[in-house]
Each structure stands twice: as C-alpha cells, then as structure tokens.
C-alpha cells in the first residue's frame, strides 16, 4: 500500500502534507487538484508532516486536498531518443505538449515508445556483466548508443541471451540476464535513474588531461579546458556569459552536448531551437541539433523544477558518458539554481547562511561539479563529462556565496570583466584574473607536447606575461602621462593590445572569426609572439599608437578571412611590409 496524505499548509510552492505512512526524503508525490496531479518532491519531514516542493503553481490548492506518494525519487528515463529532444527540468518532452501555453499538471513521456531502433548485439551468452556494461547498441543520430545493464542492478549477472540484429522498440526485451539466484532478468532499452544520485558505473576516475577544443581563443590558447574538466563563467549581466556558452556549445569537439537553460531567458533557448537544427557540426557534417539535448527550465517556469533541471541534465550526461562518449554539459545559470534552493530554504525557515543562501550551498555546489569528469569504464573505454556553468553574481560582485563556492569546485575560471564588455572587447574574459588549473597538470603538458608542440605551453605563458606587463605599463602611463614615460612603455603596452585584439577578442557573430581551430590558434600565436619579439624604431609615442593600430587592423582582417586563403595570405603579406617599415634589423 503506498502512502497517502492530505494537504495541511500552503506557502507558495511549499506545501505541508500530513502523511499516513512512511515517506522518504526526496520522494515524489502527486497532489490532486481538480482532476490533475501536481508533482512535488519531499524536502523535509517532521513527524507525520512531509514538506514538499511543488513543481507547479499551487493556485486554488486547498487544505485537505489528497496526496499520493510514489515510493521513488525524482527519476529520469534513459534510453535511445534523448538526443535532439527539448525537455523541461523534469524531462517532460516540451514538443509533445499541446497548445501554446504550458498547462499545470501536464506531464509528457521523455522517449518515444513506438519508434524502432536498429539494434546490434555487443555481448554474448555466457558473458559476466555488471551495471553499465554494454549489451548492445543502436544508432542514435549516427551516435553509437549503447544499451547497458541497467545502473540499478547490483552484483553480477550472466548473459543468457541477447537479441539478434534487428529493429526493436525501447520497451522490447533485448537481453536476458541470469542473476546470482539463477533467476532470469529481462532487459529492455529503457531504464530509470534518480537524478540526485550519481551514476557510478565506471572503473576509475583519473585526472583529466586531454585538451577539449572549443574554438574560442581566449579559452583554448590561454586557459584551456580538458575533456572531463570543469569550468565556470561568472560575470555581471550583459557581459557575455550566454553568448560564450552558446559559442562553446556550437563549436566544442564533443560527441554529445547537453544544454541546461536553468532559470534564464526563454528567447535564448528559442535561439538554440532555431539555430541548432540549421547549423552544421563541422566535424561530422551533421546538424548540431542531432548531438544536442536541451533542458529548458526558463525563469518563468516553476522554480522547484529549475532546481531539478541541472540534476536532470547531469544524469543524462552520465548516461552518455557510460557509453564511452565525450559529453559537454553547459548550465546557464547555476546562480538561478542556487536561488531556487534559497527560495525553498527561506520558506522552510531554515537558518540562513551568507546572503540568505542555505548553509550547505558550498557542499551542494561541489557535489554537483564532482559529477563531471573523465572516467575509465569497466571495459577499458573512456568517457567524459566536461561541465561549464555560468554564475550570475549579485551586483556583479564576485565576493558572493555562489561565486565563491563555485571557485572551490571548478578548475577553470573564466571571469568576465565589466570594463571589457563596456568597451565591447568580447568575449570579455579577463585575461589576467582568469585561470585554468589544467595548465599546471603534468599530464596535460605531456599531452599538449604530443598533440600540438613542445613549445606551446611556453608560448602561452609568454603571451600571458606580455598581457600582464601590458596592463602594468598601461597603469604607469596613466599615472605618469604619455610623455612622462619612455617611448618603450608605449611599445610594450601596444604589443599587449595586439594580443588582446587578435587572440582574446573574437567576434561571436562573424562566420569565420567565431570559431578558430587549434591549428590556426597555434599559427596566430606564433606570429604574434614574433611580432612581440621584434624591436621597432619610433621617434615619439604618438607614432606608436598609429602604427600599432595599423598592425591590429591588418591582423583583424586576417581573423576575418578563411585560414590560409588568398585573402588571408595577402593581408599577411601587407602586414609583413608594415612590420618592415619600422623593424630594427
């Protein structure tokens, strides 16, 4: 007999339910309101009272309305067909919903029961298997989607039979396993998993070290992220967090991209809906949408579901990682998730931590980030979830709980600076404050030496030093005046400006400039460092500005041209002749 209950109190979307039997923390229940059930999650229990957060508006709910508990936590449905779907935070398929407006209590199935998939067996009778092991695979938008031993299966099993090649629906049995009690267990292509529990079906989680190319120069060149790495992008509103994340989602060399639009603008999601089915993934020639799943729980959608949305996204990521795929997960904005936690914590009248956020916010955030990572599966294959979240600090002040907690959890820090955004130096990533801890990993250096060059890290550090020196020199010039400093100071400053304009700044809306392959980044960095190592002759500082502006202009034209095209080469030739004008031999 499942537990029932009755509504005892209502404060916005927090409802107190008097339960007539056992309930567990995070259990899902449905509150009956005029024929529809409103989904809710238990977040606190005191005696017989279960405090539940309702994933919907509670308008018209009354005392004594009936509640039924489901006996399970918030789960996602895992199986082929997740890619290209647009889900809400609870994995309802938004496209299946009727009408223009969302209806309260309308829940739609995440997968398509009737679609047939081309199945190929991978395991054979007699194989010993455990949770997460591959039994077969289907082709999902060109991606090998593994059908695995369900994650919830504990202990080991023996394969009794696996279906032969052919077309199957997700609920068809594709394998039969024998458990330790010699009982047959049928496995279909679909399974469920609670979102707040990490999927741990892998052998080990070593430190990540492989560069994950994003095409964004300020990331790849200066502060690279790795496959299975974590990073975050804090910044005041309007500084370019979303544009940067969208750029990464379009260009990164990932197999699967999961975008969690968490409490942000609906129009930004619409942009993805509109563009991704049209844009091509240059690596596969397929449409971007084919490798993407969107979790859209925008700011006007229920707050509690917003909290769930990032977990839903992460769980889908873990599912694909277990197939040996490279998953990129993006969440915009993790601050909205933290605010959802805060709203609930305040309604529960919990003792507030800094800025009224829950006391355990740092733990919640680091727990979440720890679900990303690079893993070696039981069969020796590897998979990864690279996670990049945005943070929207109140008042743009980075000394606030969400930013500070995230800084402890994430390894790459891409700080967006208001002054850079104000002067349209996009992406506004601050080159001095930002960092990538991966640059310090010896595994990473080794990998880069093999894949790019043994000079690369050294060159990157040189570029950083030039930027740093440029900044210091600029401050000096500002204090002492243009003619209060040697002409050299101006040259130093302008050399750093060239790096700023040509590497850091990147036009996210220009077809060519928006994405730069690493090969091209290497070429440009080399060229720029050569320029910085060149001595120039100037009579006065006024000549310096104009001269370097010409150089920047020339490099910019190169950035806007197809790599090594005739146009590109011509601009480069012109650039060389400009350099020769003042070069000291």
């Amino acid at each position: 007999m499942s537990t029932k209950g009755k509504v005892k109190g209502i404060i916005a979307n927090l409802v107190i339910v008097k339960a007539d039997g056992p309930v567990s923390q995070n259990e899902i229940c449905f509150i009956q309101l005029g024929g529809t059930g409103l989904m809710a999650e238990v977040i606190k229990v005191i005696g017989e009272d279960a405090y539940v957060q309702v994933f919907e508006s509670t308008r018209n709910l009354k005392i004594d309305d009936e509640v039924s508990f489901t006996g399970h936590m918030l789960e996602v449905t895992l199986g082929p067909g997740i890619l290209s779907k647009n889900y809400d935070g609870l994995q309802n398929d938004l496209d299946k919903m009727k009408g223009v407006f969302l209806k309260r209590g309308e829940y739609t199935s995440a997968l398509d029961d009737d679609k047939e998939w081309d199945f190929k067996p991978l395991a054979k009778p007699g194989d010993k298997v455990t949770a997460g092991d591959w039994l077969g695979e289907v082709d999902e938008n060109g991606m090998p989607h593994k059908i695995m031993v369900p994650f919830a299966y504990t202990g080991s099993y023996q394969v009794k039979s696996v279906a032969g090649e052919g077309k199957y629906k997700i609920k068809n049995t594709v394998a039969v396993l024998i458990d330790t009690d010699n009982k047959d267990v049928e496995v279909s292509m679909v399974q469920k998993w609670p979102v707040k529990v990490p999927i741990r079906a892998f052998k080990e989680k070593p430190r990540p070290y492989k560069l994950l190319e994003t095409g964004v120069r300020t990331i790849d060149t200066l502060n690279p992220i790795v496959e299975g790495g974590t990073g975050f992008i804090p910044g005041p509103f309007g500084c370019g967090k979303t544009v940067l994340q969208h750029a990464i989602s379009k260009q990164a060399e990932a197999d699967i991209v999961i975008v969690a639009a968490c409490g942000e603008r609906a129009n930004e999601v619409v942009e993805i809906f509109t563009e991704f089915p049209e844009l091509e993934d240059v690596r596969t020639g397929k449409k971007l949408m084919e490798r993407t799943t969107i979790i859209a729980n925008t700011s006007n959608m229920p707050v509690a579901a917003r909290e769930a949305s990032v977990y839903t996204a992460m769980t889908l990521g873990e599912y694909y990682r277990s197939m040996g795929l490279k998953v990129l997960m993006l969440a915009d904005s993790t601050s909205r998730w933290a605010q959802a936690l805060r709203e609930m914590s305040n309604r529960l009248e919990e003792l507030p931590g800094p800025d009224a956020f829950p006391m355990d916010l740092p733990a919640i955030i680091s727990n979440f980030y720890s679900r990303a990572g690079y893993v070696i599966l039981n069969n020796g294959e590897t998979g990864s979830i690279t996670f990049i979240g945005t943070v929207s600090p109140a008042g743009g002040n980075l000394k606030e709980p969400v930013t500070e907690s995230t800084k402890k959890a994430a390894r790459c820090f891409y700080a967006l600076a208001q002054p850079r955004a104000d002067s349209k130096r996009y992406p506004a990533v601050d080159p001095i404050d930002s960092y990538s801890k991966y640059l310090e990993y010896p595994e990473f250096s080794e990998y880069i030496e093999k894949t790019i060059s043994d000079k690369w890290i050294d060159q990157v550090n040189k570029a950083k030093t030039i930027l740093q020196r440029g900044k210091e020199t600029y401050e000096q010039i500002n204090i002492l005046g243009d003619d209060g400093v040697p002409v050299d100071y101006h040259v130093t400053f302008w050399k750093s400006e060239v790096i700023d304009f040509i590497i850091l700044q990147q036009d996210a809306f220009d077809k060519i400039d928006q994405s730069t392959p690493v090969e091209r980044q290497e070429y440009m960095l080399e060229s720029l460092l050569d320029l910085c190592n060149t001595d120039f002759k100037f009579e006065s500082f006024t000549e310096v500005d104009n001269y370097f502006k010409r150089i920047i202009n020339q490099y910019k034209q190169m950035n806007y041209s197809e790599f090594k095209s005739e146009k590109f080469n011509n601009f480069e030739k012109e650039l060389q002749s400009i350099i020769e004008e003042r070069r000291v031999a």
Partner: protein, 440 residues
C-alpha cells in the same frame, strides 16, 4: 467586486500587520481573492485553518472584527475589444467614467508560454532615436527597461517610443505614477490621436502601494488577449518597476520572510522574471513587447532591483545627461539590446554592426582622453580628434531628440568617421570601408 450570495462571512481576525491579516477559515484556495471590510485581499499563506491575506489597499483602520468574505477565484480581468481606449485602476475597474467592460473573465498571472512554441523575434521596432535604433535596436517580443535616475525624462522618452513604434496596441501599466505623469501620458496619447489603441492600468501615488502588485499582471493579461486571440502586436509599458519591487518587499517583509540583498525578497528574480518573460513572439503573428522603467538611486545599478532586472531583461537603455552637450543621451556603454543581433545587418544595412561597434569604441577612446585631460595630462592629436568626434556623436546620434531613419544614422556615422579619423583608426572590415567610406 461582487460577492456571491451564499458566501460565508468571517468576522474575527487573529493577526494584523501593515500589509496582511490572518483569520481562521476553511475551504479556501491558495491565491484566492477575499474582501476585508470592502478591501480586496489575496490568500498568500494557509497553515491548517489559519489563512493569511495580503490586503492590497493596506490594513490601516482594519479592525479585528472586520468582515471577511472569500470570492472563490484568483484575480481576473474581463477581456474584449472594448478594453481599447480605456483607463482602469489596478483592479481593472474603469477610472475614466465609462462603463465596466464586458467580456470573457480571465485569471491574471496565467501560465507561461511553452518555450518550444515561441518564435524567434525578428521584427525591428524603429523609434527614430539613434541611441536606440543604431546602438540598441529593439525587436518585437523583446523585454527591455530604461535605467534612469528619477530626474531623467524617461516617461517622455517612453511615450515617444510608444507612439513611433508601429504596434497595434499600447498598454500602459502605471505603478506609483504621479498624477502629473498620469495626466501627461493621457494627454500625449490623446493629442497623438492614438487613444483608441491604448489601454491603461494605473496605480498612482495617491493609491495604496500594495495595489501595484496587480498592475503588471492586469496589463499583461490584456496584452495576451490582443496578442493571442487577435494576433496583434502589443507594446506594454511598465513604469516604474522599482516601485513595484518596493511593494513586493513591503509584503514579504510583513510576512516575516528573510530578506536577501537590499531588503528585497529572495524570490525577487523569479517574481520579476514572471512578468518580463511574458514578452514573446507568438507563432501566429501576435507579439508582446515590454518596455519598462527601472528608476535607480544615484545611478547605482548594483542595487538588487536593477541588478535582478538586468539579469532578466534583454538589455537595458541607460539614460544620462551628457554635460559636454547639455542633452540627455542614451549611454552607449551601459546600454545594450541583446536582440539587436537578430536584426542588425539583416533587416538593416550590412554595415550596421560594424558602424555601431566602431563608433562606440571611438567614443570609449574619447572617454579615456577625457580622463587624461582631467588628470592634467597633455592630449595627443588622436585624443583631441576623438574628443571632437565624441561631441559630434553625442549631438547627432546619441541625443534623445534625434529622429531619423536607420540608413541616415549609418550615413551620419560614416561622415563622422571621415571627419575625424583615418580608415585604419576606425578598424572596420575592409570590404565595408571600401564601399561606405565617404569619397572626398
């Protein structure tokens, strides 16, 4: 508002605060309306038998034996074409002396649009103001506030924008409007002969502040009627959202909620987002565009109200007095329209994005030169030229009294570049400079 005949009347309040009161009652629905001694109230909390009501008109003079009746419904508005040309208070009751509007009764604060049913906004809204059209182009379905200190002429600019924008309906949601500003809007709309496409929901400073909480939802319910049922393009003006947020904080503080930054409720972001996200382009052609006003105190945009607003809206228009030219301009640094990408260079001339960016960059150079000057340093020739450019740019493009079409704005931009700079100093893509740089 009428009450139902068989309604139970309660007469014993157990608690009264500045904005709320509580009583014991049964069978009450969450969000339901009630009358407390003739004042409209709404259920904000139910614990067992104890119901807490937020009294929109404030609780001044409410006795413990006040008569309370429940209306069995959330706040509603009757919608029909007859709304056009009418002025209402925060409850949707006429204040223009006309008859009550008949029509379908709809709950305000209704559900959100399914994001997959939205269309990407793509219609440019031209205002003639270059600080907007050139640098911060508006698009139908967008939501964007003016950020302005209280002494800036934001109501004037907003009225001008509303009248120049080619929309089917303009809906004014006035919150804490002074009576003078209310009459200003009324006159401007009247003089423009536009009254028949205007609907107003107004809470003035003379009305209780908590009533304001109903205004945006009233205005947006009317907007949804015209945009969804009639496929019209609707422009909603919300002024002043800072006063709306202040009213929110009054209520939440009275309910003993733990305030977050600047004494604002922790839910401020979600509360504001629910309103602003009603801006939408519908698939059938209708649209809701929201232009709001968020007044600042001393230009501080880090205060919780503008800060949360900035995180929700699709940009902001920052008004400031430019002392160099003695006019109010749309500040190009702090203003932003995030949807402009969807139209500039696509619905407008190809050189639009680059002209816009180049001009702002040069304006930034002028700002640096100005700092140098203030610090007593000598200016270079380039500094001098950028300062001169800045003055021209402010006067001819940024000032809010500019009224020209977008091609003319772009031509003006190129002329100013040519007047003050060499092409390489402007740094525009060569193809464009070749095509548009004025030939001597």
């Amino acid at each position: 508002m009428e009450t139902r005949a068989f309604q139970k009347i309660y007469t014993k309040l157990t608690q009264i605060t500045k904005a709320t009161c509580s009583l014991n009652a049964t069978g009450v629905g969450y969000d339901e309306l009630a009358m407390v001694n003739g004042r409209l109230a709404q259920v904000v909390k139910i614990i067992g038998n104890t119901v807490t009501l937020q009294v929109f008109g404030g609780t001044e003079g409410i006795p413990t034996n006040a008569e309370v009746t429940f209306l069995g419904k959330a706040p509603t508005l009757k919608v029909s074409d007859d709304l056009a040309g009418r002025f209402f208070n925060a409850y949707g009751e006429p204040i223009d002396g006309g008859p009550a509007v008949e029509g379908e009764e709809r709950e305000i604060g209704g559900p959100s649009v399914n994001p997959v049913r939205r269309k990407q906004p793509s219609e440019l809204i031209a205002t003639g103001i270059a600080g907007i059209d050139l640098n911060n182009t508006l698009v139908s379905g967008q939501k964007i506030p003016f950020f302005a200190d209280p002494d800036q002429p934001f109501n004037q600019v907003m009225a001008m924008v509303a009248l120049r924008a080619k929309t089917d309906k303009i809906i004014l949601g006035g919150m804490g409007l002074t009576n003078d500003d209310y009459l200003f809007y009324k006159n401007v709309f009247d003089n423009a002969g536009a009254l028949d496409r205007i609907i107003s929901f107004v809470n003035t400073t003379e009305n209780p502040p908590v009533e304001r909480l109903l205004v945006p939802d009233m205005a947006l319910t009317a907007a949804e009627y015209f945009a969804v049922d009639k496929n019209q393009s609707v422009l909603v003006l919300l002024t002043d959202m800072t006063l709306y947020a202040d009213a929110l904080s009054i209520v939440s503080n009275r309910m003993d909620q733990i305030p977050s930054k600047d004494s604002m409720p922790g839910s401020l972001y979600s509360d504001l987002a629910k309103i602003y996200e009603k801006a939408v382009q519908f698939p059938a052609g209708g649209s809701i565009t929201i232009i709001a006003v968020t007044t600042l105190s001393g230009g501080d945009i880090t205060h919780a109200i503008p800060d949360n607003t900035g995180y929700i809206t699709e940009g902001q228009l920052f008004l400031r007095r430019d002392t160099d030219i003695g006019k109010v301009i749309v500040d190009p640094f702090r203003s932003l329209s995030r949807l402009k990408q969807l139209v500039i260079g696509k619905k407008t001339r190809e050189d639009h994005p680059q002209v816009m960016n180049a001009a702002v960059r040069l304006f930034a150079d002028a700002a640096n030169a100005k700092t140098k000057l203030e610090n007593g340093f000598d200016l270079t020739d380039y500094d001098e030229r950028s300062l001169n450019f800045a003055k021209d740019y402010s006067n001819k493009l940024l000032a809010i009294d500019v009224n020209i079409d977008i091609d003319e704005m772009l031509n003006t931009g190129w002329n100013l570049f040519n007047k003050h700079f060499k092409p390489e100093e402007v740094g525009i893509k060569k193809e464009l400079a070749d095509k548009y740089w004025p030939k001597e």
